[in-house]
């Protein structure tokens, strides 16, 4: 996966921008991300159907992969069956 490029889910509307990526295969909805979505979409694997959210960043535990969701979808992201985690800003706690 080349940083700066965009990849699409083969099974849902999800599109991501590769921020950090190596020689790994990331799945969305259980199927590998692709450059061009096939004309006929496959089915989403139920275990990876939590959805992606626009503007959110997803990383693996090792920190070797980071994907930015630019279009949300029904599938969720994983590598080798392990779900990617959300990477979020940690703002200072505030209240009124």
């Amino acid at each position: 996966m080349k940083p700066g490029t965009k990849l699409k889910s083969a099974v849902c509307d999800t599109e991501v921008m590769v921020i950090r990526g190596g020689d790994v295969v990331v799945e969305c909805g259980g199927s590998p991300l692709v450059e061009e979505r096939p004309a006929v979409r496959g089915a989403i694997t139920p275990a990876f159907a939590d959805g992606t959210k626009i503007g959110k960043r997803y990383v693996d535990a090792a920190g070797t992969v980071e994907l930015l969701c630019v279009k949300p979808g029904q599938g969720s992201l994983s590598i080798g069956g392990v779900a990617l985690k959300l990477k979020e800003a940690k703002p200072l706690p505030s209240s009124d």
Partner: protein, 407 residues
């Protein structure tokens, strides 16, 4: 939609509401607003756990959507030299620089006016502050609760003397939102000036100056006469000098506000609407001077009349009255106010969770056109895509990441 700020780039290094709200207004008007946030923490306002004591959903945060809709977010650590260099590269492409960081922070992180002007001499450099950029307290920070409401005299004036103490501002980002619009107005003037003369100005708006402008009529009166008024305790009845000015309680506890400052030509019609047409022929109220002399007697009649029927009756019945009045509505009532909605005051956008989210538009509308905008960005959502648009190669982006200037 008409975008009067199309082609204008605003570089915003600010957080909380006051100054970001100016960026939001400019984004509403079509400017390309780049919001710089700390790459790991983001705008501190993203960390609000509660707003007014009510829990906040971080993907549907009113304190982020209201002052940041329509912007892009780029995460840069401006305390690092590589981050500062990157900020200057963006500043070269910007028309307006917008900040609410204190002078000491602007100096330490080298984004004060001289640093930004060094790379872009014509940029409009805009500072929002608590108490102004001159004087001993220019380095003192504040929020609208302190600067706009408390120190300004507004909290004191709004609170009846009979209360145990002053009322608090009672509304989140109240002074900030007014102040943000004020900054946007100033920037419009500054852009016009630059267009005509080529000169970029520095521009300051403080929360204190925003409050003093809002209180300007009273302050002027005080300086002129040595006297001014404070809010009074709630009553049902007209003011001491004008019976057609005041709040009147309805039979079911609602309130109707009358505000006929200049009653000429309105008195008979008003008495008729109140269901007391005979009062119009009462010699005590025969002209406006007599009405002012006998304000108490007229007020008593109106109190009794309005107090005899429920709120909803008056809300409908007074629609044909010539004089100025309003039902006292709650914010909840306002969200279904047909007149407000007919003027497009609410705008629906899609929030980060893909569901509808409503924001309030700014007070200015161009060409009668409803506002179209997009949700506030996630923190640092656009870092890489914006930097690529700016022309940075991915190797440079990687090296900025390695240095911690971006994340």
């Amino acid at each position: 939609m008409t975008h009067v700020m199309k082609g204008v780039r605003v570089l915003e290094v600010a957080q909380f509401t006051f100054v970001p709200a100016a960026g939001a207004i400019l984004a509403d008007w079509g400017a390309d607003v780049i919001k710089i946030e700390h790459p790991l923490r983001g705008d501190t306002q993203r960390g609000f756990i509660n707003m007014g004591g009510i829990a906040v959903d971080k993907d549907r945060n009113p304190l982020i959507e209201h002052p940041n809709r329509g912007k892009r977010s780029v995460g840069i650590d401006v305390s690092k030299p590589q981050g500062q260099a990157l900020l200057y590269e963006i500043a070269k492409t910007a028309d307006v620089f917008l900040t609410n960081y204190l002078p000491s922070v602007r100096q330490k992180n080298k984004f004060d006016v001289e640093h930004i002007r060094a790379v872009n001499p014509k940029i409009i450099y805009t500072r929002g502050s608590a108490y102004g950029d001159k004087g001993d307290e220019r380095n003192v920070g504040g929020f609208d609760g302190t600067a706009f409401w408390s120190r300004s005299g507004i909290g004191h004036s709004m609170s009846p003397a009979e209360l145990d103490g002053p009322l608090s501002q009672g509304m989140m980002a109240f002074g900030d939102s007014i102040g943000g619009m004020t900054i946007a107005g100033g920037i419009s003037g500054a852009l016009f000036h630059r267009e005509r003369t080529g000169e970029g100005v520095e521009l300051d708006v403080s929360l204190l100056s925003t409050a003093w402008w809002a209180a300007g009529a009273n302050i002027t009166q005080l300086l002129e006469t040595g006297k001014t008024t404070r809010n009074s305790m709630p009553t049902s009845g007209g003011s001491a000098r004008n019976p057609l000015m005041g709040n009147f309680r309805t039979s079911d506890g609602g309130t109707i506000n009358l505000c006929m400052v200049s009653p000429t030509g309105l008195v008979r019609d008003a008495f008729e609407h109140f269901g007391i047409p005979q009062a119009a022929d009462d010699p005590r109220f025969a002209d406006v001077h007599k009405l002012i002399e006998n304000a108490g007697a007229a007020s008593d009649l109106i109190v009794k009349a309005i107090g005899s029927k429920p709120f909803e009756y008056w809300r409908q019945h007074l629609k044909t009255m010539k004089g100025q009045w309003a039902p006292i509505q709650s914010l909840q009532d306002l969200t279904t106010d047909e007149q407000a909605l007919a003027n497009d005051m609410l705008v629906e956008l899609e929030s980060a969770d893909g569901k509808p989210f409503k924001v309030v538009r700014g007070p200015v509308q161009f060409n009668h056109e409803p506002l179209k905008t997009t949700r506030a960005p996630q923190a640092s959502e656009h870092t890489e895509s914006f930097l690529m648009e700016l022309g940075l190669e991915w190797d440079r982006i990687e090296s900025l990441k390695a240095s911690g200037a971006i994340a």
